[in-house]
């Protein structure tokens, strides 16, 4: 008898009674785990056979696929969330029926004992098949040669994370049952818990992006602590996608360091899932112990919960409708006061309707539409306050500059120039996104200078935010304050062209800036693979080359030149004399570009030593032909014209400068991009060379007769849209 009454015997009997749900759970996991593992490996092998991949590549693909199914990158935690909701609600759904309440509550058990019996049953129902099927899947992956140690680590971590997602969602579902009286409202409750944070965040991002000039959209998916397992999973996935190159690059390699890095990134959120699960588990127990049995069949059983949920739903609904209205308007005039008042009227109407509908549903009586109208009034007031706080920036978002004492360091990322290739020094990947790389490696410690730049940039951003002008008057940049308390504060800046150059020099010329901006300070990847590359030098007309084995020597020289010379004044005011490019031997692709300035003595010495040096374009004398292409407004077409007269060529070259794609601090107005210059000399260009350099005229320095020549003698140039087809 004692044995029959034991907790685990009761658990087993309860599990047997809930056999249908248990079988459903097993079925879902069977499909997601071992079945999916086998199917993806088989499919991968078929694709590899059809593509005639070798054994190494085939194994690589298998490992990649196994990681997709069982490891960190998979998509099916959403299904686990669904499973947790179903099991969580089903476990305690008897509370919704008066007959079942009479049945269970009259049994000789305390509520606490009954709670743990049902709660743990829902955990066991998932965990046991989950562990078994995960182990089987790992075994199958191993037997089918689709596993490496690092991917195994990822899989084990992911299993833990999946359980965390399940645990948190399951607890929230149980808590939702405790707060409600029927299954539909319980489902709505879980949906509320899982989504409300995401909805708040989304609405905040949309409002901030519309009203705050300095708001950056990508900051909305930055890493932060999130309570909802659904939102947490989605946000982690979005972050992994956005920063995919940090971890996985463009190929299928999944090396150990990369996996460990990802695990470190995901660990805090995983801990949060477990914390949520535990805390809510006890809250749900408390709610059950306080629950009145007669609430079976009602809607939301606690009046404060009704009030709060009604308020939040009507408030968010009003904000959502205002958002739709803003998107429909689709221009910056939405920020005007008149428009804000109009939005408040819309919000009021929506709040009244939603609030009334929610109350009617709670009471199951349409006549209760206007009951507790003060809740509706509160929703209206909140919506209006929200719109005016954003519209008038009452929280000072656009003018916020943190105190220096609270800042650890800062990051400044210019929006221009995407041509440099960033790789991690550990060789985690071929390439990283510029944004992610600089954010990781830049540490500007001159906070005072950054504050001045922030003030100027934010002010200019505010002034131009509502302007329709196309004219460029500054540099768009992103500023990230890394605070001492761990927070990251992002702001969009529009640094004006007339900013104090000395302040910019302090930042742009600093070690903290240069070491992150120039990937040459973190070039372990290139060092390791230099045999695969050639080094090219171009002055815009010709190209010279040397073997990539010289990379170390070049890199040392260039780093020294950057440390000694590079600052804002150089980058802004000077035009380069040439450009060094790193290109692949096998595929002739351009991998990296480095601008060379007149003052880069070490780099120029390297070039001279290796017979690579070429005179700057305005000093070149062996041009055989020069072609100018330009857009003629009067006739509305692109034309080009050739010059072969040496004197004319010399005159034209005096005003010709090399583009500085790698200089993010050049003004858009420094070049006249309506005209481009192509130069031919009698020097042979190396096979497979490429250069990012182009030749243009300085703005305002286009020779007067060029236009006349183009109109008079110019040949029509084939274009595709606004682009010349070469």
């Amino acid at each position: 008898m004692m044995l029959e009454n034991s907790f685990w015997i009761k658990e087993w009997k309860l599990l047997k009674r809930r056999g249908a749900l248990a079988f459903f759970t097993i079925g879902v996991l069977l499909f997601l785990l071992p079945f999916a593992t086998v199917m993806t490996i088989v499919r991968s092998d078929q694709v590899c056979r059809a593509s005639e991949y070798n054994e190494v590549m085939t194994k690589l693909m298998r490992v990649y696929e196994v990681n997709q199914v069982l490891g960190i990158e998979h998509l099916w935690p959403v299904m686990i969330i669904g499973l947790a909701v179903i099991i969580g609600i089903r476990s305690f759904a008897w509370l919704f029926s008066a007959e079942k309440v009479d049945f269970y509550e009259s049994q000789p058990e305390t509520r606490k004992e009954r709670y743990w019996l049902f709660y743990i049953n829902g955990i066991v129902m998932f965990v046991v098949p989950f562990i078994v099927l995960y182990a089987i899947s790992i075994g199958l992956a191993f037997l089918m040669d689709g596993l490496t140690k690092s991917v195994l680590a990822a899989i084990i971590f992911e299993a833990l994370r999946i359980f965390g997602v399940y645990f948190a969602t399951y607890s929230l579902s149980v808590a939702s049952v405790m707060l409600t009286g029927n299954a539909i409202f319980a489902l709505c409750g879980v949906g509320f818990f899982l989504c409300v944070e995401m909805v708040f965040s989304f609405l905040y991002s949309m409002f901030a992006g519309t009203f705050f000039a300095t708001y950056i959209w990508s900051s909305s998916i930055s890493k932060k602590i999130i309570l909802s397992p659904l939102y947490g999973y989605i946000n982690e996935f979005a972050c992994l996608e956005v920063n995919k190159n940090i971890y996985f690059g463009d190929n299928y390699m999944r090396p150990k360091a990369m996996i460990l890095e990802t695990i470190r990134e995901l660990l805090p959120e995983t801990v949060v899932f477990f914390a949520i699960g535990i805390i809510v588990m006890f809250i749900a127990l408390y709610l059950y112990q306080k629950r009145q049995a007669e609430t079976a069949g009602s809607t939301v059983i606690h009046k404060p919960v009704r009030i709060v949920s009604r308020l939040i739903v009507s408030w968010l609904g009003a904000l959502g409708c205002m958002l739709v209205f803003m998107l429909w308007m689709m221009d910056r005039s939405v920020a005007g006061t008149g428009m804000m008042i109009c939005m408040c009227v819309i919000a009021a109407i929506i709040a009244i309707v939603l609030s009334g509908i929610v109350e009617s549903l709670f009471e199951a009586d349409i006549k209760k539409f206007f009951k507790d109208y003060w809740v509706t009034a509160a929703a209206i007031v909140l919506s209006c306050v929200y719109i005016f706080v954003f519209g008038l920036d009452l929280i000072g978002f656009d003018s916020y500059i943190p105190k220096a004492s609270a800042v650890k360091d800062a990051v400044l990322i210019n929006d221009g120039n995407e041509d440099m290739t960033y790789t991690d020094e550990n060789g985690l990947s071929d390439q990283m996104e510029k944004q992610a790389y600089i954010e990781k490696y830049m540490h500007i410690t001159d906070v005072e200078a950054m504050q001045k730049i922030a003030e100027a940039g934010q002010s200019h951003m505010r002034e131009t935010f509502h302007s329709d002008s196309d004219e460029s008057t500054g540099w768009y940049s992103e500023l990230i304050w890394n605070m001492k308390d761990g927070r990251k504060i992002h702001r969009q800046l529009y640094i004006p062209y007339d900013i104090d150059e000395n302040v910019m020099d302090q930042v742009v010329g600093s070690d903290g800036y240069c070491r992150a901006y120039f990937p040459i300070f973190n070039d372990g990847y290139f060092e390791k693979n230099k045999k695969r590359y050639n080094i090219f030098y171009s002055n815009g007309a010709d190209v010279t080359e040397t073997d990539g084995e010289k990379y170390t020597e070049f890199a040392d020289a260039y780093r020294k030149d950057v440390e000694e010379n590079y600052d804002f004044t150089l980058a802004c005011d000077e035009y380069p004399v040439g450009e060094i490019n790193i290109g692949g031997k096998d595929n002739w692709g351009l991998i990296e570009s480095y601008t060379v300035y007149k003052g880069y003595k070490n780099t120029i010495a390297f070039l001279n030593k290796n017979n690579m040096w070429l005179d700057p374009i305005d000093e070149v004398t062996d041009v055989t032909k020069l072609t100018i292409s330009g857009y003629i407004d009067d006739v509305g077409e692109y034309r080009d014209v050739d010059f072969e007269d040496p004197d004319e060529i010399k005159e034209i070259l005096k005003n010709t400068v090399m583009s500085a794609y790698n200089s993010e601090w050049k003004k858009a107005s420094d070049y006249d991009y309506d005209f481009s210059v192509e130069v031919e000399t009698d020097k042979r260009k190396p096979d497979g060379c490429m250069t990012a350099a182009g030749l243009f005229f300085r703005n305002g320095d286009v020779p007067q007769d060029i236009l006349a020549r183009l109109i008079d003698k110019g040949q029509l140039v084939e274009t595709s849209g606004d682009e010349i087809v070469y």
Binding site: M1, E4, N5, I9, K10, K13, R17, S97, A98, E99, K100, V101, D102, F103, E105, S106, Q107, P108, E109, T110, R111, E113, Q289, Q292, A293, E294
Partner: protein, 301 residues
Amino acid sequence: MIRTENLVKTFDGVKAVNDITITLKDGEIFGLTGTNGAGKTTLLRILAGVLRQDSGAVIIDDEPVFDNRKVKEKLFFVPSDLYFFPNSSPKDMEEYYATEYKNFNKERFEKLVEDFGLGMKRRIQTYSKGMKRQLAIIIGLSAGTKYLFLDETFDGLDPVMRQAVKSLIAENMSDYGLTPVIASHNLREIEDLCDHVGLLHEGGILLSEDVYDMKSEIRKLQCVFPTDEEQRKAEKILSVLNCKAEGRLRTYTVRGTEENIQESLKEIETVYAEILPLTLEEIFISETEAAGYDVRKLILD
């Protein structure tokens, strides 16, 4: 012993149980009856520990009931709306209850199930309403508890089954010391079975007495008076609950023992007077009419 002290339970502003204080002694059958919505089921659910009272106390064997495992091991509740596990058979329910109730008597249960022709392995969902009720009662009688709470027990049972159930209850009382508490509209059954009756009306207890005492303390008196004056005198002296007139014949429901009434009659001149016993139904109607629940008014209006 079961005791309630100033028990109150409110649903949405309506007092379903209004300040009830009663005592149920061990070894007696307590019958709970009353008008519709009187609070019988609510009271029973509170006694069974299903509902938590808003105020007051429910004490069973000197311990509060709600959320008390030790007390609940002593009681079994058979509600009016029954629940069995989906696709289950009596065998499955036996397995379940054997884990919940330490003293569950499997042999007795199986014997009763067979005796009632229910079939141990037959799916309960194929049973009629009456058969389900029989099964629920059998489970309750086999649970081996000290108290058995039965809500609307005899609904759906045919007369033969009713007799069988009554016999079983009596047998359990004598053999196992069971104390049943039965809530029912069926006053005939309560009158036959119960030792003590509680009459509920609008959440409150109108009376709670031994059946014998109740019947002996309220009588029907049929009289014919020679004059109106004698009639008025009689109505003053006697504790009249209600009165029906058919010509000169007056039929009174009078509170008091036969002896007391006869004593009172000595002071009054009557042409004809006869003291008759009341059925429980007549007592019920009289008491509730006195409390303002007039059935005739409902019919006529």
